[in-house]
């Protein structure tokens, strides 16, 4: 069965942030919540590289392991989702996550956290697919529509890949072979335990 993964080809990423605004656009993510962001290394210097980061939907997801109310679940596609009805906003998952994916709206003036929000791989949540309820809490469910995450679909330079892990690993390998260089699949060793090159 296909296993969903993200892969950012940093040789292609130009830090344009289309992935970030595409995500905002698709799910109407409010100001201050960032399901996806672009991180730049060696900014302004030789060797500058950028990668687009979000929840990687890990193999052994640390967030799932630490959640005190067990609000996470993993789909047969390998997508890590959670229930906002169960989430208590404790923040454990944020500290556990190696990618800094979980986000929290603030409610009230004393810094109390709201329900956690994160990238869903455009696969919604525990409400019925593509209902108003699901959209309101988790955003759209493109996977159920037969599509892939919009961030990857709209990536300006086709740097961000999403979809069947085997297929996108293949695409990446072809690219590396053709151009003769590649910096490896960022985060794959941590997320998918597959070694740092695809």
């Amino acid at each position: 069965m296909a296993r969903m993964k993200f892969l950012c080809d940093s040789e292609r990423c130009v830090e344009c942030n289309a992935c970030v605004t595409a995500c905002k656009n698709e799910h109407e993510v409010p100001w201050g919540i960032n399901r996806r962001r672009v991180v730049t290394l060696n900014d302004g210097q030789k060797g500058e590289r950028s990668i687009s980061m979000a929840c990687m939907h890990c193999e052994d997801a640390p967030c799932m392991a630490v959640c005190p109310v067990d609000c996470f679940y993993k789909t047969d596609d390998g997508v890590v989702l959670h229930s906002k009805d169960l989430c208590i906003g404790c923040g454990y998952c944020f500290y556990a996550c190696p990618f800094g994916a979980p986000q929290y709206p603030q409610v009230g003036n004393f810094g109390s956290r709201g329900k956690m929000d994160k990238c869903t791989f455009c696969a919604g949540g525990p409400e019925a697919d593509n209902t108003k309820e699901e959209y309101a809490k988790y955003g759209s469910n493109r996977l159920a529509e037969g599509k892939l995450p919009l961030c990857a679909e709209m990536c300006s330079t086709k740097a961000l890949l999403a979809g069947d892990g085997d297929v996108i690993a293949d695409i990446y390998k072809e690219r590396v072979a053709r151009r003769g260089y590649g910096s490896g699949a960022w985060g794959w060793a941590t997320a998918y335990k597959t070694g740092s090159s695809a």
Binding site: M1, A2, M4, P30, Y73, K74, T75, D76, D77, L81, K84, D85, C87, P105, Q106, V107, N109, G111, G114, K115, D117, A123, P126, E127, A128, D129, T131, E133, E134, A136, K137, N141, L143, A144, G146, K147, L148, A152, E153, K158, L161, G163, D164, V167, I168, I171, E174
Partner: protein, 66 residues
């Protein structure tokens, strides 16, 4: 930047909102404010694979191979 500054920002925003400067907030107060989860899926339904290799998905893969 720390969470503390974040708190500060929010406090100021809330203050401004109270002062009537803010734009009308169309969004609800939080996820909890959304009505009861009437259309919830059961455990098996939730986990069911959604991914299909549709035409749309194939076009995405193909355009990445160019």
């Amino acid at each position: 930047m720390t969470r503390r500054t974040e708190d500060k920002g929010l406090a100021r925003r809330d203050f401004l909102k109270a002062a009537g400067i803010g734009v009308a907030a169309a969004a609800a107060a939080g996820a909890a404010a959304v009505g009861p989860a009437a259309a919830s899926e059961n455990r098996d339904q939730r986990k069911r694979a959604r991914y299909r290799e549709t035409d749309h998905v194939k076009k995405f893969y193909a355009s990445n191979r160019l």
